[in-house]
Symmetry: C2
Subunit: 237 residues, 2 copies
Amino acid sequence: MPAKSTAKTAKSRRPRDSLSRETILAAAETIAERDGLNGLTFQAIGDELNAHPTSMYRHFRDKDDLLLELIDNLRARSYGGTVLATNDWRNDLRAISKQVHEHYLRYPEFAQQMAMRTTRRPVEFANVEFVLDAMRRAGVSDADAVRYQRAFGNLVRSMASIEAAFLALEPAVRRNDELAYQIEYRQLDPEQFPNIARVADPMPGIGDPTAFDTALELLLDAIELRVARASTSQVDH
Amino acid sequence: MPAKSTAKTAKSRRPRDSLSRETILAAAETIAERDGLNGLTFQAIGDELNAHPTSMYRHFRDKDDLLLELIDNLRARSYGGTVLATNDWRNDLRAISKQVHEHYLRYPEFAQQMAMRTTRRPVEFANVEFVLDAMRRAGVSDADAVRYQRAFGNLVRSMASIEAAFLALEPAVRRNDELAYQIEYRQLDPEQFPNIARVADPMPGIGDPTAFDTALELLLDAIELRVARASTSQVDH
DNA sequence: ACCTGAACACCGTTCAAGT
DNA sequence: ACCTGAACACCGTTCAAGT
């Protein structure tokens, strides 16, 4: 029983020049939205476009080439309006963090690639500029601003990436991991693990949705503190 | 020309019961150390053990089963001696972060799996207990300790994971990404990106080795600050 | 010049067959 | 009961052949 032949007459050859990076990326975006990274194969793109799987090689060097281009398209789609600066640098950094966080949760299977690559494209430039400007308005020196921007950016992208990857685990696997904090951690010997025993009723797991914000607020607290200290010691001189 | 037949007489059948989870994991560890995650296939394990690739299925449910078991073995190997608590909670948290960080850089291709899974095994229990104890010694309340421990742990594992993944990129790709901060970011229009223009000489990239420590120290600063504030306000009452 | 078809070298996984 | 061999359903990628 040839299951393939049911769907289409399908012998139609695609018209000449009907394929391009744009049409292929649009199909890839559809598949990414619907089936995630694992569903994104040349076969699937071919099906979507009614084209041969290997025809993509005329338009992309290889799959990585396509993937990076796609990642930037997804980002441009999510970041519809750029975040606008207010007169509150903490709120501004919170707002852009939230935007990145949500974007990663929306495309969890692409999160690691998004977190570790430099796309050197408009959305990225704008975000870096935005964060540096917020640092300046907070009163951070240029030398510190560039260090804090890197630490802040890496923290936000890394933590969002791992959280997204965790949420994208197979449901059964994820459920088991979450249950560890209600079962295994509660059954530990209180003599050997007194601190765990004191707080395990239950403990938050790796996918705890508040961990991101907790880390972020601690970071912002510390930047504010250091700025305050620097201006105090300057007054002292 | 049958390239396969050169290496071995090789028709030898493995003696009965000569395979076990332990022998297979030992071979997998060798391959992980030598060829990384991509080199870790059942074919490679079979070659290493002079056994048939499919024989592994008698001892492991599937490849994920093998991978998780392997990750715990690698961790046990890296964490030779447990970190010992001193009377300085900040140094203790630094020490355990460094241990985790180095472990991830040692096995970069396994980093994401290590960062997002809960193994509920001895090394993990010991680390959680250690961090919670340091929080207690810092003067953090139980309610905050459990939140800070989760934020701290997620931050350390996430940031180490992304940094490791970046360092494991193909050298040419990684080099290109690094050069972006010496080339593209420096060529941006200073009118449009004034803050980038001020600090781009050059900027640190995603793989900047100090970003991890910068974020960590900011987090520790904030915890110390909050403890100080809480005790002050308590005195006020 | 662009799209297609066949082929290659890999994967993980299943299952009947050997010992 | 444990190991092997053949087979299946996938991948990405190359390259000669069609149009």
